[in-house]
Symmetry: C2
Subunit: 403 residues, 2 copies
């Protein structure tokens, strides 16, 4: 069995490493030898053990009938989409770790794969090494999924953990994360929550079997979270995490990406650093959680290689487990979802009385800072609380609380 890797960056080189280091194990699980024949990249890698496999032209892969499986680890939308499409049309099975590609073109690529009797898998596109797509699609099949709540972005989780542990402010932590390679030079997709939105869109597509347009998901990042907010959370035995949430409502799902305060009895509470975890609630199973390395070259490559093995075992009869159709899922209105907010307000601009008038059932908390009041609202529809907070003067911060 010959394979090709498109994109020899962090994950692509990890795939080569996993296949080399666990060569015997992979061979045993596939049932035959599995070799990398080509690595597509525009760069040269003169010192690399696989340097003689580097090609610069996709046609080398497309035109070689010996290559049955292609790994897409280029990232980005173009030319990743065109290359994957051409591979599938040539009857080659594909696995990708590219969440942008899967969120934008997943349904189209699955249809092309079916038409051409090729396999298509994308386990590593969500949660890095954590087996979550397969768990949702082939294990939790007897359950109606009532909720998915994921810490699915390692960069922001690392940053929030550092802020909590060391009291470092957002800007300093971001620079540190960039220096360490945990955050990209342009960190927008991570810190503004767009990466997490793509991932919860993919997860919801799998459980609903319909396409979810991630552009419809309301997204708040962590740029507004301060060390002070984290201090309040700590005092209430809570932590602040960027959560990508899908909650079943009225036969559909309500989706949101936002920072949430979560209590210390929630299994997501202790997911720290660059780790990811996905909480899944089934109507029969109840609570479950899947935890592991959500990023990093080798853990993510481990999931890509598990896909390669699964594709190789069914190379002549590919299965279409992750299939969802092109009808966009009509999302439930997230503004109608009921929740509580934690609120901080400036007492030079408002009073406890005014806050109590707006939120008669608010639970006031001891303030850590001068000229501040803090409280937890009662449980109302999201839009109703935001509406009232808009009318209250001096609101410094508002963070949803995860039940």
């Amino acid at each position: 069995m010959k394979i090709a890797i498109m994109g020899y960056g962090t994950i692509g080189s990890g795939v080569a490493k996993v296949l080399t280091e666990n060569h015997k194990l992979v061979k045993k699980n596939v049932g035959e030898e599995l070799d990398i024949k080509y690595i597509l990249d525009l760069r040269d890698f003169p010192e690399d053990p696989h340097r003689d496999k580097i090609v610069n032209d996709i046609d080398a892969i497309i035109n070689d009938p010996e290559v049955r499986i292609v790994v897409e680890t280029m990232g980005g939308l173009h030319p990743a989409f065109e290359f994957v499409k051409r591979c599938l049309e040539a009857g080659k099975s594909v696995t990708t770790s590219n969440k942008a590609l899967v969120a934008d073109y997943g349904v189209e690529l699955q249809e092309i794969a079916r038409k051409n009797h090729a396999g298509f898998m994308c386990e590593a596109s969500v949660g890095g090494g954590i087996p979550i797509l397969r768990v949702l699609d082939t294990c939790l099949t007897a359950d109606l999924i009532e909720e998915i709540s994921g810490i699915v972005n390692g960069t922001t989780n690392y940053m929030l953990t550092e802020m909590e542990k060391n009291g470092t402010d957002f800007e300093t932590v971001l620079k540190d994360a960039q220096n360490k390679g945990y955050a990209e030079k342009d960190p927008t997709a991570d810190i503004e929550g767009f990466d997490a939105a793509r991932k919860i869109a993919i997860l919801t597509s799998i459980v609903s079997h319909h396409n979810v347009d991630f552009n419809e998901i309301p997204v708040e990042g962590i740029t507004g979270i301060s060390v002070r907010d984290i201090g309040y959370a700590k005092k209430m035995n809570m932590a602040i995490k960027l959560i990508a949430n899908a909650t079943r409502e009225n036969g559909s799902y309500s989706l949101r990406v936002a920072p949430y305060m979560i209590k210390n009895d929630n299994p997501l509470y202790s997911v720290n650093g660059a780790f990811n975890a996905i909480f899944v609630k089934g109507n029969m199973l109840g609570d479950s959680m899947y935890y592991g390395s959500g990023a990093g070259s080798i853990p993510t490559a481990s999931a890509v290689c598990a896909d390669i093995i699964a594709l190789a075992k069914k190379i002549d009869e590919p299965e279409y487990e992750f299939y969802w159709d092109s009808n966009n899922l009509k999302l439930a209105d997230p503004g109608k979802t009921k929740c509580r907010f934690f609120v901080r307000a400036d007492t030079t601009k408002t009073t406890k009385n005014e806050a109590e008038n707006m939120f008669p059932d608010a639970e006031f908390r001891e303030s850590i800072y001068d000229n501040e009041i803090s409280f937890i609202t009662g449980k109302y529809q999201d839009e109703e609380i935001l509406n009232r907070l808009n009318r209250l003067k001096g609101v410094i911060q508002k963070i949803r609380i995860k039940e």
Copy 2:
């Protein structure tokens, strides 16, 4: 598609409930209607909605060619083994939640299934509703599994959690657990660790592809754990959990079931009450954990029903994913595994000096009780530490520490 349920107790009735409540979803996932035709039980259930399906004779199921899938939820070894064997020989696929059956006869039943072109699955036999067998067998396929550490017995975890939370002693908690139905009248299998041993044997069989004889696993239960021990653990930011462990050593696995102290940065630390969790470390993936309801009628039935759906989808071409062969895995000597122990000793029988002579690199801890010293040993082979502890007078307690 017609199915039969053998044993209409806690889990069997849960299976009927899940199939009824999620009827539409199951039909969609199977691709056709799935109906319960028979329920085998010696008892009558005059008030039950499925009362007209109750049969008392296994032959009704065996002789009906319409029944393609049989669910074994009787528990115990006999006649469960004989009944499952007969079903498989009649070409019917079987799923079982019975860990004793799988640990004792799993390899034999899988061979009978293969010979008769029938499917055999047992996801619910370990970790209740948590999808762990399928995760190990079909998701983590590119990894050499270096460690599995599971909290796989809900009864003992519930008891240890209650002891920690309320300071209640072992005997009282056990009676309470029995009254609430969490512990059986004869609690031996749970509290002495035998149930956990069967489960880690099954998990190790899956990752090693060889049969693991659970009788070879050294087992210590929780009967020796006192509220005082838990108090010491708390003071060190640790918890005491009954862990079923398999660690890769010298090309095999070293297995042990015992109470361990685990630190608060370990993902197993916050697994409380009747919940189960299985920590899995792959040589590429790194740390991962799978958490959920390890017992209970409906969560366990959810896993059985997922098996039913998987069997139904491949009814004419069953897959043998969980296959392990009948060669007993030669286990690595657990006495050679290196670890640390927490030790309490009676100062009316020994002195700190004597303890220091025996363990020169011991870290002494502040004692909570009069006439006691407590310390953590250096890291040595398990048998070496036990050997020295045997020679030290006045040892009250010794508990391994999970790294």
